[in-house]
Amino acid sequence: MTNMLEIKGLSVGYARKGLALDDVSLSVPKGGIVALLGANGAGKTTLIRAVTGLLDLHHGQVTHGQVALDGHAILGLPSHRLVRMGMGQVPEGRLIFKQLSVEDNLKVGAAIVPRGQVRERLEAVYTLFPRLLERRTQSAGWLSGGEQQMLALGRALVGNPRLLLVDELSLGLAPLIVRAIYQQLRVVGDTLGTSMLIVEQNAKLALEFASSAYILNSGRMVLSGSAAEVAASDAIKASYLGTKREQPEGDPGPDAQASQHAQESV
């Protein structure tokens, strides 16, 4: 069975910053939830941009590699085509329409849905995120951070995408809210079988939620495996300051060893 998303040997460079991704491969199985982890600047957002057709906007270029959505090669296709092909995008920074109402925001996402089903899809999103229903006529710019994130997700989900790409969901949000949102995403995954690629800095949370994970470090994929495997690995400890906080205090040993491992396990 083909994977929903298949990335093979992808290399991406930016005009003035050089190579950001180097021979990266990743796959998202149908119905699977995959976490992409890595420190700041590791290249996670670049990967998402390459997949979603937004590289041009940010002066980036694919130098090598292939990306396929359910078997169809998609590199070079314009973003709006990809959305129509079933790729829902929730980029970093939420990117909602601040001057439009909540409902209007969702309706924009519903542009790809056949007329008759729009109402139904909107209701589905409101059921998923009741807060949005409460605020449906309010201007999106006035929403709290968590509500805006729900809105961005809702807008992507309205179109019932086959693949959902989420970039840095937890940024700037309280853990409680992030957890609640992830729970709702799990509901979506369970009921609709939507495949998901989640880019996260908060590795712990992502690994609770995902079934498999990849770790990106300075543009290279350093580890991949099931969520449990990755959670236990040394590489994860090396890549994150966040998880270090959960180490026993005053114990530099394992960290020093871990970073060695990270470099070796390419």
């Binding site: 979603t52 937004l54 906007l57 314009p78 973003s79 709006h80 990809l82 959305v83 129509r84 995008q89 929730v90 980029p91 990117l95 909602i96 329409f97 601040k98 001057q99 439009l100 209007d104 925001n105 309706k107 924009v108 996402g109 542009a111 790809i112 807008r155 992507a156 179109g159």
Partner: protein, 288 residues
């Protein structure tokens, strides 16, 4: 008489408002300050002449072809001139629109000659009186049609799904891309609308005066109108247009005919110094 002046001012102002609206739509969508909007007004007048006098089409057909030709012009301009320079600094884009106006002007003068031409339409051109007031039917028709167009656009923008997509694109280009909106298509639509609205304005201005490339200066009054009203504000553009129309007529009647332009530009300068974001604009635009 004051009422008379006000009436003409409001009528002309309605036309300016229409042209300013076209300008604002393009600006909101593509962030291009289109200095060629004045020439688009001229194009409208000459497209009307082509349809009516040169091709001898029946009036409704001539109007339809004028609108379609204007829309096509807008789309082509966006595709070949605006899109290639997307993201370039402002002077490049401004100069591009200025160069465009130069080319259009030259082309029109080559095709039609540099003298003005009379634009004859079956639109009513008589005058009727209400008490002391002489109401020019042409003025009235122009005002009504302008308001009709503005209302139609407003309805389209607010209530249709395409209008929603346009509003979304104007709100955030990147968010629109991510939501699956074909942004290029939206921008082309915006330009088509901008040129069509200017063309309709040209139809009336060409009749009220004479169709010539000199109409450009009148069309350019849309610029101060938009700034005074508030650059990113659609209602602001309309109000700005009305204000400019009224002020122009007042200045022409009570000071001197030549002073009307300068009064408006002096007002523009004042607004820029005191309240640059215009009457209806939002302060955040001060990021400029």
């Amino acid at each position: 008489m004051l009422a008379q002046v006000l009436f003409s001012g409001l009528a002309l102002g309605s036309i300016y408002g229409l042209v300013a609206l076209g300008f604002a739509v393009v600006f909101k969508a593509t962030e291009v300050f289109n200095f060629a909007q004045g020439m688009f007004v001229v194009c409208g007048a000459y497209l009307a002449i082509t349809g009516i006098s040169l091709l001898n089409l029946p009036f409704p057909l001539a109007m339809l072809s004028m609108v379609l030709a204007a829309a096509l012009l807008g789309v082509l301009i966006h595709m070949f001139l605006i899109q290639p320079v997307a993201g370039q600094p402002m002077l490049v884009v401004i100069m591009l629109t200025i160069a465009l106006s130069i080319v259009l002007r030259a082309a029109i003068e080559i095709i039609f000659g540099s003298q003005g031409r009379t634009l004859n339409t079956p639109l009513p051109s008589g005058v009727f009186k209400i008490g002391e007031l002489r109401i020019s039917q042409l003025h009235l028709t122009a005002a009504l049609v302008s308001w009709g167009c503005m209302a139609a656009f407003g309805a389209f923008f607010r209530f249709t799904s395409v209008g929603l997509l346009m509003r979304a694109t104007a709100d955030s280009h990147e968010a629109a891309v991510v939501s699956g909106v074909n942004v290029n298509m939206m921008n082309r639509l915006a330009w088509a609308i901008g040129v069509v609205l200017a063309a309709v304005g040209g139809l009336f201005l060409g009749q009220l005066q004479i169709a010539s490339t000199e109409l450009e200066t009148i069309g350019l009054l849309a610029l101060p109108a938009v700034v005074i009203g508030g650059m990113q504000s659609i209602p602001g553009a309309i109000v700005g247009g009305l204000l400019v129309g009224v002020i122009e007529q007042l200045a022409a009647s009570y000071i001197s005919p030549k002073s009307s332009d300068i009064v408006i530009y002096a007002l523009l300068l004042l607004i820029l110094m005191v309240r640059p974001w215009g009457l209806f604009g939002q302060r955040e635009l001060g990021r400029v």
